[in-house]
Structures are given as C-alpha cells and as structure tokens.
Symmetry: C2
C-alpha cells in the first residue's frame, strides 16, 4: 500500500497551530530542540516509512508470523527493516542522554510514531512498546537497572514488552496470579503465564526485555499487591526461563506476534517499590494509551490517502451537478456522499492528529516544563488521555470503514489493502484498556473523581478558544451543556454510583466531540488562504455541520439513562 507522509499538515500543526518553537523554547530539562532538527527527523522517518515499511504492509499481513519450535519468525523483510531502524538511531530519540539517548521531548517520539504506524503498524509495534518500556524504566529504575537495560533498549538492539494480561484477567489486572519469589541472590523468581503479549517473541532483536506484573509472597490482594519486574528473555547471553507457548491467530495485525508467555521461574529484577507495580505500570500505560490513539491517526491517514486517490480515479454515474458535460460518468469524488465519507475521514483524522499534538505538548510540559506549570499540565494530560485513546480509536475505526466504503466491493477484496486497515484498526478499541475502561476512567476518575478540576481546566481552554473563534457561540453553548451534564451526573452518582457505568460511554463520546470541536476551531483560525488552508476551514465547517451534531445524541442518551440499563433483568436477555 502506498503511503506519503502528510508533511504539510504536520508542519502546519508544529509551526503554526501549536507553535512548537515557543513550546520547545520553554522546556527546561530536555535537549535544546529546534524545529529544523525536528523536521529533519520527520523527513527522514517519512522516507523510511514510505520506502522501507509501506511495501511490507500487505505482504506482512498475508504472510503473518510463523511459530516454529518456540521461536517466532516475523514476516519477510521485517528483520532487515528493523536493522535499518537500529542503525538510523530512531529508538534513541527520546531516551535519556546519560544512557545513549538523544533526550528529545516526547512529542518528537509521537511524530515518529504516527509516521511509522502509517508505514506499517504490525512492524512498528515491535519498536513502539520499547518506547513505553523505556519511559517506565527511566521514571522508576535505579541507576543499576538503567545502566544495565537502557542502552540497548535505546539503540533498538533489544526491544521491550508489557506483560499484564493473564488468561483469567484482562481489564481487571487486580486478579492476576503470577508469582514473584525473592531469591537468595537478591533477585526474584517469576512464575506464571501471560497472554496477549504483543511482540512477546520475535526474531528482530537480540533480546527482549519484558516488564511483568506479579505478586510477591503475602502481598495484599487486588491491585495493591502487585509489583513490577524486569524479566529479560536472555541474561548475559543465557536463556532465562521465558517460554513462548503459542502465538494467536487473530483478525488483523498479522505481522505482529501476539504471544502466550510462560514464566518458568524466570529471573526478574524489581522495578520501583514493592507493591507499587500498578503505579509504575501506569507510566507505561499512559504512554501506550496515547500511542494507541496515534495509531488510529496513522491508520486513518492511510485509509484517507488510499480512498481519496481511488475516488479521484474511479468513474461511476453522473454527478448531480456535473463539472464535465458529455462524459458517461464522473469521478466518484464528485458524488456528495463519497465526499461526505472522505470529509468524515479528513475531519476525524486531522482532528485526531491535532488532538494528539496538543496532548503530547502537555506530556512534554509534565516531563520538562517549568515546575510551576507541571501540576496543571499533568491534570489536563490525565483528563485528555482517555479521550485520545477512547474517542480517537472509536472514530478512527469508523473512518477506516469509510475508506473501505468509498472503494465499494473493491474495498472488500484484499488487493487494495483497505480492508486490512479495518482489521488492524479494530484492536485499537480494545488493547491498552478498552473504550469501556477509558470511559470509566474519564467520567469516574478524571472528571467526578477529581471534583471537576480537570474539566474546569479544559473548560478554560475551551472558552479561550471560543473567545476568538468563528464558532464561539457553539463552543460556549457546548461548554454550558457539558458543565450541566457533569454536575447532574455528579449529583446522581452520589446517590447511586451505578449511574457512572451506564453514562460513561456516551459521556466519553460526547466529550470527544466537544474536545475535537475545540482543536478544529483552533486549526481553522490558523489556516491560510491557499488550497490547504481553505480545505482546513471547510473541513472544520463540515465537522461542525455534520459530525458535531452527534454530540447531541450522546447528551440525550445520557439524560435518558433512566434505569433501562441498570434495572434490566438478566432473564430478559434470552429470546429462545
């Protein structure tokens, strides 16, 4: 599948909409970052993704991973491309300079992530979990652990994983039973089975560093008794007790191995304090959640490009107002509903990208900003993370399905590659916390749980935008509505907390549309008068006209939450 990185749109966001020049100037502890450097990295990443990764996208899907004698062999070409990635130094971009990293802010990692994802998501997954592992190690590891593991994770010679899920527990990590027994040597012996481990075993790197959640002896039950361990597949060249038992056959992501891993008294090293594993793992998960939102953006980009190209070439039927008289048929892009499908993709894609840039700017501030702004940045980041993960993956799935729909029957067959986008994008609504988990996180923890402070912070951002927006009235109206809705939900939840569960999904979607309205308004303000700028403003208008009205459906669904969910008698589900 062909891919061309959307450099113009990225530059627009970096230089204009979010003014990363000023932003980078204000960061205190990162490597000084100038935009020319960032754009050079982006350009080089674009070349790599376009030339090396994209050609392996469909072939990697068709070939899949092979599981032979406990070893996993990635699709043809993946290993060679990974070698280039290592040689190019991409893995080190955002790493700690004390251990070989370039020390660039998180945002640069995210720009790279999106481009690599568009090039080849299955391949990128081998690299990208390392970034999450690196962040965790940098945040919670002591000097010994860092010096032992960081350097080769940063070069990419080693890759990382995160091992949470077990056969009986997914969303409910607190149920996990993998054990960690202290050993005489001061380390730990890890015993248990983990499933659904992305990139859990493969032939691209010399070693794989697993970050594993497990329980110490006599640890409290639930999430308060979980600790985090580093469990390398190999230690000093010797195999550790980590055995891949199987790889999953699955809907998509065929090029990335989803593994069952048995830890058979494997040697592990405690990362962070005892019984604080969940807190430490959240460093990894928050990175990964934003990453998954960005994956949805990367797949939308591919679907948009592909279906746009098709719509410009394919001729079927006359347009209602034909531009070229006398032709038997017009390019389908002239048909209003094909445009609607393309504009829907463009609106969710560019809106999702802008939102991810905004969020990662906050992540930069949390990590490297001046200390007086960190708490506020962190609160806003926490608030927006479930929206980037939950909302963007939901609309992202819709968008890639629209790409298929533009192709019609030619989208359902494998040749054009767009059906693969649907299969690959489907997992984004599930892994790193399902949409349902994100929704509960947003409404229960990040909104009601913090007394509405984060929402109030975002409301200030919203009203600031409204004050200078051509959509000011709409935004102010939404702000009022959102506040009212939240206040009523909060009061109701005091009486019956089950309300939170039955309102959470619609609340997430409502919030997502409003947040996206804010970033679209901002983009429209910065758009110039060239084709690109006019297209931006028109897409913004389309978003407000045709997509934002859905927020009203979600709002009414929340208002009507009544008890039609909570009081439903289970016996009533059967219709046999």
């Amino acid at each position: 599948m062909e891919y061309r990185a959307p450099l113009r749109d990225m530059q627009f966001l970096i230089r204009e909409v979010f003014d990363f020049e000023t932003h980078y100037g204000g960061l205190e502890d990162s490597t000084p970052t100038d935009l020319d450097l960032v754009e050079a990295i982006i350009a080089e990443t674009a070349r790599f993704a376009e030339v090396e990764l994209a050609p392996l996208y469909q072939s990697g899907d068709a070939e899949g991973c092979r599981f032979v004698d406990g070893q996993v062999i990635a699709p043809t070409g993946f290993k060679e491309a990974f070698q280039q990635y290592v040689e190019g130094g991409w893995g080190a971009t955002t790493g700690d300079p004390d251990y070989g990293g370039q020390g660039l802010p998180h945002s640069v990692g995210l720009f790279i992530e999106e481009i690599l994802t568009s090039g080849n998501l299955s391949w990128t997954m081998y690299a990208s979990l390392s970034r999450a592992a690196v962040n965790t190690l940098q945040a919670h590891g002591d000097a010994e652990l860092k010096s032992r593991f960081l350097p080769k994770l940063l070069t990419g010679e080693w890759t990382g994983t995160m091992c949470l899920t077990e056969p009986h527990c997914g969303s409910d990590v607190g149920l996990l039973t993998t054990k960690a027994e202290p050993t005489a040597g001061g380390d730990y012996s890890i015993l248990g089975t983990k499933i659904f481990i992305s990139s859990g075993q493969h032939d691209l790197s010399d070693n794989i560093i697993h970050l594993v959640l497990a329980r110490l002896p006599d640890a409290p039950s639930g999430t308060k008794g979980i600790s985090l361990f580093i469990v390398p597949r190999e230690i000093d060249g010797e195999r550790n007790g980590v055995v891949c038992g199987a790889i999953e056959s699955k809907m998509g992501l065929h090029g990335n191995a989803t593994c069952m891993l048995h830890f058979e008294n494997a040697k592990g090293f405690l990362l962070g304090p005892e019984n604080q594993g969940m807190r430490c793992m959240f460093t990894m998960m928050n990175t990964a959640r934003i990453m998954v939102g960005v994956q949805a953006v990367g797949l939308m980009e591919l679907g948009f490009q592909s279906s746009l190209g098709y719509a410009e070439e394919r001729r079927q039927m006359r347009a209602m107002n034909p531009r070229e008289p006398g032709r038997a048929a017009d390019p389908i892009i002239e048909h209003a509903d094909v445009r609607r499908m393309l504009l829907t993709q463009k609106a969710f894609l560019e809106g999702g990208r802008a939102l991810s840039y905004y969020v990662v700017q906050l992540a930069d501030n949390v990590a490297f900003g001046s200390s007086d702004g960190q708490e506020a940045a962190n609160r806003l980041l926490d608030f927006l993370t479930p929206i980037v993960k939950g909302f963007v993956t939901e609309v992202g799935y819709e968008a890639v399905n629209e790409a298929v729909q533009v192709y019609g029957g030619h989208g359902y067959v494998s040749d054009n590659g767009v059906e693969q986008l649907v299969r690959d994008a489907r997992i984004a609504r599930i892994y790193e916390g399902t949409t349902q988990i994100q929704a509960l996180d947003l409404l229960g923890r990040k909104t009601l749980g913090d007394g509405g402070r984060a929402l109030a912070d975002f409301m200030a951002v919203l009203l600031e935008e409204a004050a200078v927006s051509t959509h000011g009235d709409t935004l102010r109206h939404l702000a009022q509505e959102w506040e009212d809705l939240t206040r009523i939900l909060g009061a109701d939840a005091m009486r019956d907390q089950a309300i939170v569960g039955s309102a959470a999904f619609d609340y997430l979607m409502y919030s997502g549309y409003v947040v996206m309205a804010v970033v679209w308004s901002r983009m429209a303000r910065f758009a110039g008068n060239d084709d690109f700028g006019v297209g931006k403003r028109q897409t913004c208008q389309f978003f407000y006209d045709r997509l934002l009205p859905r927020a009203e459906g979600h709002r009414r669904a929340i208002e009507n939450r009544g008890d039609s969910i909570d009081s439903f008698e289970l016996a009533g589900f059967s219709h046999h």
Copy 2:
C-alpha cells in the same frame, strides 16, 4: 461457533406481533399456509443450521475456497451439507408448484434465510442467490424457460447467480459492456467479463445458472440498453463458454467463492423483453436487498448469543452494585457498559428482525394478496426495502462489532469466532447496492420521486401505532419532524438537486431509527409478563432512551447540510 435458533422470538413475531395466521388466511394465490406447517419448517431448518451448518462456520473461514484448474472447491463439508439441503427440499419452499415448488409465500423463505445465515453465511450464499434467480425467472420467464430451468433450481440440484458487475462498473450498471449477439439458432452469444460474482463457480451443484446483464447490438447506451440473459454453465451436459478466471481473496466470507467470470461467446437465452433487463433484474435485486438485510439480522443473532454467553461466564471487576458480596469479581454482564453493548445488539437485532418480518409480509401481499391492496403494499415495500438493506446492515455492523467488544481481546483472536462475524458482516453494507445507493434510492426515488405518497402511507402506519403506544408522544413528534424535514428537502431539491446527494445518508439513517421505533413500539405492546415479555419491553425502553436519540444527530446534520459538502474544493483534500 454454536448457534441456537431464536424460536421464541420468531414465534412471538409470527403468532402475535404480525399475526401471520390472519395474514396467510388473506392471501389468495399461494398454497394455503398454516402456522403449524410454517413452524415445523422453521424447526427443521433450525436443526439443520444448528447441527450441520454451524460446525462448518469457522472451519470454512479458515480453510476458504480453493481455485484449482478453473474449478472452485468449497471448504470441507460444504458439499455434503448442500446435498442434505437438496434432499430436505428447502430450495423448493417458495417455488411455483407447476415446476415442483411448494408455493409457500415469500415470508417462509425469509424465515429460512435468517436461520441458515446464522448457521453459516458463506454456505448459505450458495443457496440463497438461487431464490432470487427463481423469483426473477418466475416473474419474467416464458413457459419454455421455466420448464427448462425452474425444476432443478427448485430442487437445488442447480444453483443460480446474478452477474451485473464488471471491472469498470459496479454501482453504475449502465456502463456495462458485455455483449449479446443473436445467433442463427434464435439464442444469443454472450461475450464479456463479470467480476465479484458470489457463488459464481463451485462444486456443490451439478450446474450453475447465471443471470447475466448484457447489451444487444445497437442497444441504447446506459441502463435503457441492457437486456437480461440466462447463461447456464452447462447445457445438456456440455460445458458452455463460461470460464472462471479467478476467485477473490477478501476480508471475509471466505467460504463463498467470489468469482471473475469470462463469458466467451457463451450461449444465452433472453429473459424478459429486449432492453428491459434492468427492470427484470430489479425483481432479483429487490429480493436480494431484503435478503441482505436479513443476513445482517442473522449475523447479529450469532454475535448476540455468543457475547451474551461470554458476558454471563467471564468475571472481571466488581459491579458498582454487586449482587454477590464477597466475590473477587462479578460476571461482566453486571457491568453497565457491557449491558449497554448487549442491549444495543438486542435492540438492533430484534428490531431488524421485526422490520424484516413486516416487510416480507408486504412482499407476500404484493405477490398473493387481494388485488385492491397490492398497489399500496408495493409502494410501502418499495419504500422500506432500502431501509431494510441500508439501515439494518449499518446498525448490524455496529452490533457485531459490539459483540467483539464484549469479548475484549478474546474477541480479536480468531478462536471465539466473533471477529469473523465482523469480517463477514462488512460486505452487507456494500453488495446488492451500497448504503449510498440505498440512501439515494430512499430519498431521491422512493420519497421525493413519488411525491411523498409512500412516506404518507408509512406515516399512517406510524400514527396508527402512536395512537395505541406508550411512546405515542415521541412517535407523533418524530412523524411531524420527519414530514417537515422531507418537505424542506423537497423544496430545496427543486432549486438544487445536489442537496439530495448530500442529505441522503443522514436521511436514510434518520428514517431507519424512526421506522425501528415503530416496530419496537409494536413489539412492546404485544409483550407479555414472562421474562421474555419483560425483556422485550425493557429493550424497547432502551431503544427509545439510548439509541433513538441518534436520530436527532442525523436530523441536525441534514439541517446543517449547508454547502460544506457541495462547495468543497477538491484541491482542499490534500494535506501533503
């Protein structure tokens, strides 16, 4: 994948909601039909689907079809199951008694269709296109053609296809170039290539009867110059010039062969008048469009059953209001958002089923009803067909995706079969006319094009329901809104018909929600006080509370149609 036919729900619709006893009593020309016979057929079909077809669902997907030396070999077990279908006489159910059919009304064919689809859609597609071919032959064939082809199509020894699409034309059939030259013998020589032919070649039947659209010499261009031909793969045991060039690799439906067929001066027989092929083919397409809506129902049923079973067994996290104190985790069905996903499936599934029963009752009336009611029944049938096809397949796709979501990561892996439902259901939004084609048909032809008469007819049905419904106010409000919306669109379209294109999709979805609200209200009225009945009423309430509000989003999108689609400058699509 396990399947149990929803006999209780079917009986409820047949005996109570739509009173098929009275309905069948009023049909004039069909074989006398009593409900015991119908339910015996349903029970036998259920057994066949549950025991013979369902076990081949996942294996057929994994194995797929093989293309060897121009022959297509269906997955293991398909041929044997088809032999049982032939022996059981299912193919003859709705056929003309003069040619070996049982002469039962269309509705019985649809009850069978849904059950077979749930059992195994890929397999069922080999059988079900025959039913569409049979209807066309019965409606437009002369006695000679009927006696030559109908008997073996009705036994199932032969199967049928419909051949419209060519490489350069899908939605726009008028562009087709396949040629039909009259021969000295009074027949025709067919030359051209057709693609995307479902069941186009396979090893289940002795012969395949292709219904092919082609152009006679000097025929007018466009759809007015298309004629319909019967082109058998074999004639009197000799191969005709029909060659399968390839089968498609595709997202789903792996067990059904999607073929490229070359007609190499194949012998064909004209079916219906010259240049009237589109009109004749519409007999086939209308049957097929309702069938596709029913396919979506059948797949939803499977997804609902499967995810309901999983939600009852799988334990994760405590419910907000736990029913069993002291457990580490509750069945996920206790979590509000899991219930929301199950209820969403149940609402669309049972609503879609009820709508399909209503529509096929109209089809019975058109075929066999008293002559004074036929015109009105036909108008309503024409009006509702794009809604059954377009709306039910759209929400059906959402529903099977919710089935995956209930499973979480376990839904993305292949073992549980639900990801296959998504891949199989995706095509329903495309084939037999995309959702876009249905939307244009509904708004352009069936609503504005007939001066609003069909809508007025349905409005009478709606208001009659409103008069006796507990949701009467809501229904009356929707009726007013729908009429206003349609009147405004009609007026706007007089000035600029491009409006039709940019409003059509949202109009289809809006109409679909309102129509489904009517059938849900009707079901709730007939529901008793047992678990099943209480569940019905609560699901109805859920539909009104949580899903119907989306109609408002679609209505506003139509109101805001403005010119954000039509005036969009093509250059603005690029963001490179």
